[in-house]
């Protein structure tokens, strides 16, 4: 069943491969500098590597915007994004998968009564606006750096041709990696919180977590799109861009790839932060808009006479129109699937404020004075709960505060039974961790945090580390896996 629900994401992946591969290899293939087969193989390999290695950053940002809680919901959200992209493309609007998926997630938030993190949304939209500008700046800078070097070295026509080929192939490889890293979140991001997958180890050397396995599958879907349909797009788009001049086209592809990389690389972000430098948010951006931005940059450098300003206007309108349309489509489809097909598109959540929860929140370092009047109350929608919190506090509660309160009050019943313990993946969960879980047999936990704390008391292997971020990330994945295994499916009745 999971495979069926994944199909909408795979379709989005296919369409991404069919369309966006042209942005990275279109110039080289369209001008027949390299064969399509070579480009398709390189593009597929590096898209998959980019997705698996660096896909998590942008995906986390989408997760902050809205974390889909039911597999049917994830299916509908990805499907709504795909439908919106199709409809808008048919209507002749420039459209981006990144913008459609964000709109579709907001549609899900509205439908399920979940909170939309406006800070994340603002960051995402701001990034979309910045993306083409940054791409233009990169293109102009690279051009200004590269051209004098060529002139100084007085490279002959044929040697410049050979050099351009190598650099185009390198740019294509880098671009494919960045495309996978940045855009895989659009394809598979919504499935990450609901994927019933545990970590797997490949030949005892590389381990892939659930998200990475999904990203791999999504990467393969993109690769299928590249092989089956991108040639035509490459021949059209590639030749269009190539009219610039080979060197300018090369600069455009490099600028595009750099921008996608900057908005996807956790490593680079970590490096910038560790040196006290401002870092860029990890957000899925539009590959096509990055290309157009770079082309406009080169156009402006040459006097700006050949820029099609209508196209620029179309891009700007897409920043708002695409998410709004996708949100509408998503909301309608969710309503339809929930009520006509009787599929659970979100897991109903209950927030229960008890004295014990409030005490725990207090121990987490928060002022809990305004929570006291709410003790004994229950809320079935996140939006209602946040409003009640704000009313009680007398001012809007911050996103951070809301998240903490909700974490400790969310009712998510876990029942530890022998049968469910037998289901645990022993290749992933260590013997000591399993022993700790077995010690809890027969107990029922109303909140996940209580389960986490009980496990942490029993074994240091269930405790978060103070320094090891990789261990903490793996532990969080294991906890999510435990919740899925032990969750009582009648929780919704609370």
């Amino acid at each position: 069943m999971f495979a069926f629900f994944l199909s909408s994401g795979l379709f989005l992946g296919w369409s991404l491969g069919a369309n966006d591969a042209a942005n990275v290899f279109g110039t080289a293939v369209g001008s027949r500098m390299i064969r399509f087969a070579t480009a398709a193989v390189l593009c597929s390999i590096f898209v998959i590597i980019g997705s698996v290695v660096s896909g998590a950053g942008a995906s986390e940002t989408l997760g902050k915007l809205g974390s889909i809680t039911a597999i049917a919901g994830a299916f509908v959200v990805a499907f709504a994004a795909a439908v919106s992209v199709y409809l808008m493309t048919k209507a002749g609007y420039p459209v981006s998968t990144s913008q459609a998926i964000v709109g579709a997630i907001i549609g899900w938030n509205l439908f399920s009564g979940s909170l939309t993190d406006y800070d994340s949304l603002t960051t995402i939209v701001a990034t979309w606006v910045v993306c083409p500008f940054l791409s233009a700046i990169f293109a102009v800078s690279f051009y200004k750096l590269f051209v004098p070097v060529i002139k100084t070295c007085s490279v002959s026509m044929f040697r410049l041709d050979a050099l351009t080929r190598y650099l185009l192939i390198l740019a294509g490889i880098f671009g494919s990696y960045s495309l996978g890293a940045n855009n895989i979140a659009n394809v598979m991001g919504v499935f990450v919180p609901v994927a019933p997958l545990s970590d797997i180890s490949l030949f005892g050397m590389v381990s892939l977590n659930a998200a990475q396995q999904l990203f791999f599958i999504g990467g393969v879907a993109i690769a299928v799109g590249v092989f089956t349909y991108s040639k035509r797009v490459m021949m059209t788009v590639g030749e269009g861009i190539f009219e610039l001049s080979p060197v300018a086209a090369l600069v455009v592809v490099w600028a595009h790839s750099m921008v996608l990389f900057l908005f996807a690389s956790q490593g680079l972000k970590g490096l910038l932060v560790s040196h006290g430098l401002p870092s860029l948010p990890l957000v899925p951006v539009s590959s096509s808009q990055a290309i157009v931005g770079a082309v406009i940059g080169i156009g402006l450098l040459r006097g700006g006479r050949s820029i099609r300003w209508r196209l620029v206007g179309g891009i700007a309108s897409g920043w708002v129109a695409t998410p709004v349309i996708a949100a509408g489509v998503s909301f309608m489809l969710l309503f339809f699937v929930q009520n006509v097909f009787q599929q659970e598109t979100y897991r109903p959540v209950t927030y229960r404020v008890t004295a014990e929860n409030v005490d725990r929140i207090g121990r987490a370092g928060m002022d809990t004075g305004y929570l006291a009047p709410l003790v004994g109350e229950e809320f079935s929608r996140a939006v209602d709960f946040r409003d009640a919190l704000s009313r009680s506090k007398g001012e809007p509660v911050t996103a951070g505060e809301t998240a903490t309160v909700m974490h400790y009050t969310e009712v998510d019943e876990l029942e530890i039974t022998e049968e469910k313990i037998a289901e645990l993946d022993t290749t992933w969960i260590t013997a000591e961790q399993r022993e700790a879980v077995e010690a809890l047999t027969g107990r029922v936990f109303i909140h996940t945090w209580r389960f986490d704390e009980a496990l942490a008391r029993l074994s240091p292997q269930w405790r978060l580390s103070e320094h090891d971020r990789d261990f903490n990330r793996a532990l969080t994945n294991k906890r999510q896996y435990m919740y899925r295994i032990f969750r009582r499916h009648d929780t919704a009745s609370h």
Partner: protein
């Protein structure tokens, strides 16, 4: 793959240089061929004509090989059309030199001694114009920024060629003692030689456009 492409590139550059060498050599051969003819050294003239035929064959073979390589190896896709046109234009210049020697050989024009220097000068202007075009061409392939250094010389020699040709024709038709048919025969030769510089100038004009198109 990297080394293969670089090797292929240097092979084409060598062929291209070789082809332009043939065009340049054909000019020198033409000049000395005319000189032999005017000195009535017909044996040497015949040798020069034979050599010219060899050069023309070699030039044709190199041009065809270059065109094939450019297409089959999909090199310089953005400038391929321009380069092919340029190669054909240069080949036409070579043909023109050969054609001129052939005309002298076939029609054997009777050139009065007083016109010898003018004919030599006219031939020299054409050769200089073509030589400057060859240099512009080499610059176009090797360092596009230096094309202009040679291009203006083509224009200069074309204008010199015009002047010499006009003056020569005027002298020819002012002579009372020559038959009209003789005068017209000499005029045809003067015009044929003048056309070499004209054609070189046409090539230079097109090259100028290619340079603009190639501006990075």
């Amino acid at each position: 793959m990297g080394f293969r492409l670089l090797k292929r590139t240097s092979g084409i550059e060598k062929d291209l240089d070789d082809f332009l060498d043939q065009v340049s050599r054909s000019g020198l051969l033409f000049k000395s061929g005319i000189d032999c003819y005017l000195r009535d050294n017909l044996e040497s003239f015949a040798k020069k004509t034979e050599e010219m035929i060899d050069i023309e064959h070699r030039g044709d073979a190199l041009r065809r090989s270059l065109e094939t390589q450019l297409y089959t190896k999909t090199l310089i896709p953005e400038s391929r059309g321009d380069v092919l046109e340029l190669l054909e234009s240069m080949d036409r210049l070579l043909d023109h030199f050969k054609g001129a020697l052939w005309r002298f050989d076939i029609e054997h024009p009777e050139i009065c001694v007083e016109y010898h220097d003018d004919f030599r000068e006219l031939a020299s202007c054409g050769v200089e114009a073509v030589e400057s075009t060859v240099l512009s061409c080499r610059a176009f392939f090797k360092n596009v920024d230096t094309v202009a250094d040679h291009m203006h010389k083509v224009m200069y020699w074309e204008s010199e060629s015009d002047k010499v040709s006009t003056e020569l024709q005027r002298k020819i038709f002012r002579r009372e003692d020559l038959r009209l048919s003789h005068k017209r025969h000499l005029r045809d030769f003067a015009r044929y030689l003048e056309k070499i510089a004209d054609e070189a100038e046409d090539v230079a004009d097109r090259l100028n456009i290619y340079v603009i198109k190639r501006s990075i």
